[in-house]
């Protein structure tokens, strides 16, 4: 009797559970594969030795103490936003509005520096900047949260639209505070007095940024994992009905969590303006509000894993800049390399969550 093959060549099934070590092995393999594919692409396109290109990436990101510091500064900036997004996404509230929340936080910080820089004593100025940035960010996220909780509006679109409002608002303030008049840039704020600039700590620039964000990392980890609020966020994220059934006030949790999320993103604006750029422009957020979504999701809201993801992303970015400069390529070539590496890393998550089952060579008699 002839047999009809019914089993497909390959089947995909969801893994029930996977050992941490195995998951990390898969991730490691994906990085190695990504580097190999990039090597082929690099050689095929620009005829460069891939090893030299990777060496250049390393040099660009951590080659000198100063570069290491800049990489660390940009890493904690990205990390801070990721931390801000984590509670919202864990609650399955699609906060696409980090970009805007950072910008309004930055505007609030810059406003304090410009208007109170000469009058307030240093500690009061920092306190004002700190609080104002968090309030501004929280305000920007509470508006969509309120409408979501009250009228079931779509938060993805709402938060996205709030970004555009924030960008326009930034342009407005840039035009208002432009320095010099007519140049349409704010330039460095309080260049002479350095009022409202986060000071160097242990003789190192950006140290305050790093310490602030590391504190947040620990704080958010504990908040999400061990606090009652964190538990409520998890329940609302898994199922709103369950949350209602066990007596959780979903509307309250949504608004509260989003205020927190926005406040931390606003704080990221404070760190960007007071701690590193000392200026404000539409590029203060620079797309990091979107990149941080990748950070939050890849790390599955574990803030310590977020450190790793942020380091990787910033490392790739700095490496790409160095490749472009050192080998006189345009930015696009080096961004392709970044793209390939990211693709593989995101792809590895598929193999961690699912398993491929190949058809047995010897036949499908089992059917």
């Amino acid at each position: 009797m002839s047999h009809i093959q019914t089993e497909p060549f390959v089947r995909i099934t969801k893994r029930q559970d996977i050992k941490t070590a195995k998951a990390w092995l898969i991730r490691l393999i994906s990085v190695v594969l990504a580097l190999a594919v990039c090597g082929v692409v690099i050689y095929a396109m620009v005829k460069l030795n891939p090893i030299k290109v990777y060496a250049a990436m390393w040099k660009g990101a951590v080659g000198t103490p100063k570069r290491m510091l800049v990489t660390a500064r940009d890493t904690v900036m990205l990390l801070c936003i990721g931390i801000g997004l984590a509670p919202a996404f864990k609650m399955r509230f699609w906060n696409i509005g980090a970009e805007g929340q950072i910008l309004v936080g930055g505007i609030a910080t810059a406003a304090c520096m410009i208007y109170f820089g000469k009058t307030l004593p240093s500690w009061m100025l920092f306190a004002a900047m700190f609080v104002a940035s968090m309030l501004a960010g929280a305000l920007w996220s509470v508006v969509p949260a309120f409408f979501k909780a009250r009228f079931k509006t779509n938060e993805t679109l709402f938060t996205l639209m709030m970004n555009y409002v924030a960008i326009q608002l930034t342009s407005f303030f840039v035009a208002k505070w432009e320095n010099p008049f007519g140049s349409n840039t704010v330039g460095i704020i309080n260049q002479m007095t350095q009022a409202g600039w986060l000071p160097s700590l242990f003789g190192t620039q950006y140290m305050v940024n790093i310490i602030l964000v590391l504190l947040l990392t620990v704080g958010m980890y504990v908040y999400l994992k061990y606090s009652k609020h964190g538990y409520e966020i998890a329940v609302v994220g898994e199922s709103e009905r369950t949350a209602k059934y066990v007596g959780i006030n979903v509307q309250k949790v949504v608004v509260r969590t989003m205020s927190l999320s926005g406040a931390i993103c606003g704080l990221a604006g404070f760190i960007a303006v007071a701690g590193s750029s000392h200026t404000i422009s539409t590029s203060t957020a620079g797309g990091r509000g979107f990149t941080a979504i990748i950070v939050a999701w890849l790390a599955k809201f574990n803030t310590f894993v977020m450190i790793l993801v942020s380091v990787l992303l910033v490392f790739l970015e700095k490496g790409a800049i160095q490749i472009a400069s050192q080998f006189d390529l345009n930015d696009y070539a080096s961004q392709m390399i970044t793209g390939i590496i990211l693709f593989f890393i995101l792809g590895s998550e598929f193999f961690i969550n699912y398993r491929l089952i190949f058809r047995h060579r010897k036949g499908g008699e089992a059917a």
Partner: protein
Amino acid sequence: MKRIITLLLALAMILSLVACGTAAKGSDDLKVGVILVGDENVGYDSAHIAGIKTAAAAVGIADDQIIWKYNIEEDESCYDTATDLVEQGCTYIISDSYGHQSYMQQAASENPDVTFISMTGDAAALSGLANFKNAFNYTYESRYVSGVVAGMKLAEMVANGEVPATSIDADGNIKIGYVGAYPYAEVVSGYTGFYLGVKSIVPNVAMTVTYTNSWYDPTAEAEAANSLISQGCVITSQHADSTGAPSACEAALEAGTPIYCVGYNIDMLSVAPKAALTSAQNNWSVYYTYALGCAVKGEEIKTDWAAGYAEGAVQISALGESCAAGTAEKVDEVIAAIKDGSLKIFDTANYTVGGAPVTTYLAIDTDGDWVGDTGEAIVNGVFEESVLRSAPYFGIRIDGITELQ
């Protein structure tokens, strides 16, 4: 006797070789960093790139001694780039755009051993930093000459009856237009120079200036040009870096509207062979040869440097086919007059504000309110541009020019 001459010659050769050797050795470990707001595709930046390359070749700086940084925005990334160039061993760092200045100044204050040159900037003298420099060309001179070219064309159009009635305003002035980047002194000085050049040939002109709020935005520049054309302007010029406006003019001219244009930096004939008359250009190699020459010799660079036609630092590009007869001769005559000083472009006899001549203007702002509080610019009835500092400070809005905001 012969032997002595041979000996002397040999000695001279050896000495010159040694001299060359030491000169080369002095500049061998020199590293120059260049921060550009755009890349070679942008006219403004390509002019700087060409200037630096010419200068480097002239003073003996090799290609691998220059680190180029393209597309650096006028924000904190400029500061990051400048500090990174210092890390890479650069002792001279040049930035080409005005908006880079405050970040360059910040880096200069933190790295006193490195010389920072903020091209077109205006803060070096006031900053009090010994390692922070500014430079600018007398661009208003080439603007004026390009205005003369436009004026010759306009006179020809008037003579041939090619100026439509809609292009003449209620006061009998012919409408011309200008696409500006940002409303501040560098742009005002440039468009006023252009306007006075046109006016020196055709006295009854009125100019409208519209701003794009960007140094480089092809779409916005084309839109601005189209809006000027629809208002009836028959000549446009620009202080913006793309070919957007000339392309728009060429399209309108093809469609039958009389419109000619004067560009900036790039020769526009490739995109607007009929509409483009000429472009006002900077020859940055004059400054860069001076500055990099100082770097090689280890000499101090001037805090403010400015030069014009007399030094060959400004020029206009080749005249287009549409230029009026006699333009080349007129241009030579005007350039000669600028060079020998008999023509003062900003002579207060040439313009008025509110119908009255300008008698005083304070050029330098020291207290940060954007209003000059020191430095009288008008000397013996002439506004002396770029003398008190290299960056232009002619911020007077003269009669006959309307700014749209």
